[in-house]
C-alpha cells in the first residue's frame, strides 16, 4: 500500500498495526464472491503493470497495440471494480436501480463493447 510506505518512522509501527488489522478485517468481512472478484482485479492489475513496464523499459513500438492491451486491462479493471461496487451488499442503498444480476448484465455488455474496440485497435 502506497500510503503506508510514505509514512514516517514514529508512526510506522502504528501503521503496520493498522495494516494488519485492515487485512484481518478484509479477510473476515468480505464474502467469497467479492474475494473472487478481488482476485480477478489483482490479476488484471498485474497484467497491466507488466505491459506498462514493457512499454517503459523495452519499447512502445506498436503504440496502438500497447494502448489496446493496456486499455483493455484498465477498462476491464474498472468494469470489474464497478461490478464489485454494485454487488457489494454494503452499497445496496446506493444502487437502488441496479440489482446484482443487472450489474452483471451491464458488466458483460461493457466488456463486449470494450473488447470490440480493443480488437479494433490492436491492428
Amino acid at each position: 500500500m502506497a500510503p503506508a510506505k510514505s509514512s514516517k518512522t514514529p508512526v510506522a509501527s502504528e501503521t503496520s498495526v493498522a495494516l494488519t488489522t485492515m487485512w484481518k478485517s478484509y479477510i473476515q468481512h468480505t464474502s467469497d464472491r467479492l474475494k473472487l472478484i478481488d482476485a480477478f482485479l489483482v490479476f488484471i492489475m498485474f497484467s497491466g503493470i507488466v505491459q506498462f513496464a514493457y512499454c517503459v523499459l523495452v519499447t512502445n513500438f506498436p503504440f496502438n497495440a500497447f494502448l489496446a492491451g493496456f486499455a483493455s486491462c484498465v477498462g476491464q479493471f474498472v468494469l470489474t471494480a464497478s461490478l464489485r461496487a454494485q454487488v457489494n451488499p454494503e452499497n445496496r442503498s446506493e444502487f437502488n436501480d441496479v440489482s446484482p444480476e443487472r450489474a452483471f448484465a451491464d458488466f458483460t455488455l461493457g466488456s463486449i463493447v470494450l473488447h470490440f474496440f480493443v480488437y479494433n485497435f490492436l491492428g
Binding site: D32, V42, V50, Y54, F61, I112, Y119
Partner: protein, 277 residues
Amino acid sequence: MVPRITFHFIWLVLATCVHAGSLSLQNPRFTITSSTAAQLRTDTLSLAEKPEPLKLGPSDTLKFTFQITENGEGKGVQPHQTFLRFHDSVSGEEGIQPVRVTPGGKAKFELNMARPPPSLPPTADRPLEVSLILGSFVHEPTIFDLFDLYVPPSHAPAPHPDEAKFHVLPLIHHTFRPEQKLPPKFVSVVFAALVLSPWLVLLGLWSKIGVRVPHLFSPRIIPFTALLGAFEALLCWYWIDLKLGEVLLYGGILAVPTIFAGKTALAATGEWRTGKN
C-alpha cells in the same frame, strides 16, 4: 521550328554543292598600345600556331586588323557575319563581339580596356581564348583560333537576374521515418511469459478462495455463457480476418439470442440468490 531547320539545312547543302571556296585571313596583325600611345607590342599573327599570350593592362588598347579573302587570293570579300569570340574555357563564360568588315574585306577591331565593351566576359587570372568566327551564305563557315589574351582580372560573374526564379531545383529526397526495430527475441519471450504469469496468480488466488460454480452447467445458464464465448470468438475472428461491416452484422445477429439467454440466466441466478439468502 521545323521549317527553320530545313531552311538551314538547304543552305548548308547549297554551300557545299556550290563549292564557292573557303574564306581565309590575310595580314592579321595586332598592336598593343598603352594609354600614353606608346606601342608595347605589335606582331603579325600566324594562323598555324598561336603566338605568346597577349597581355593587356587596365588602360591598354588592343588593335587587331585583318583582311578576309576568298581562297587565299588577293580579292577581299565581305562575309555576312564576323565575330570575335572571347572564351574562358574554365568558367565557360564567353563574350561575342561583332566586327565590322568593309566590302573590301578589311576589318579593324579595337579593344580599349579603359572602357571595355559590355560583352567582355568576367575574367580571373586565366587568359581568354580569342577566336574569329566567319559566317557566309556562299562560303563555308570558318573559325580561326587567334591567340590567348590576358586581361586584368575582374569580379566573379554576377548571377543572372532570372536565375533565382528559373533554376533547376535540387532533387527532393524523401525522408522516411526509420524502421522501428523490434526488441531482441529473448526480451520478447521473457515479457510474454511475464504477461502470462498473472494467470498463475489468478488461479492460485481462486483456488485458495475456493471457487464453486454449482450452476454452471445447468440448462438455464449454459446458453448464456456459450453465447458470451461466441461473442469473444467473433471479436477474435474480427482481429484475424473479418471486416467491420461483417462483424457488426454478425454481432447484431448474435446479440438477439444473447439478450434472451442472458435474461433467463440472470433471472435464474436471481432466484437462486434470493432463495439462498
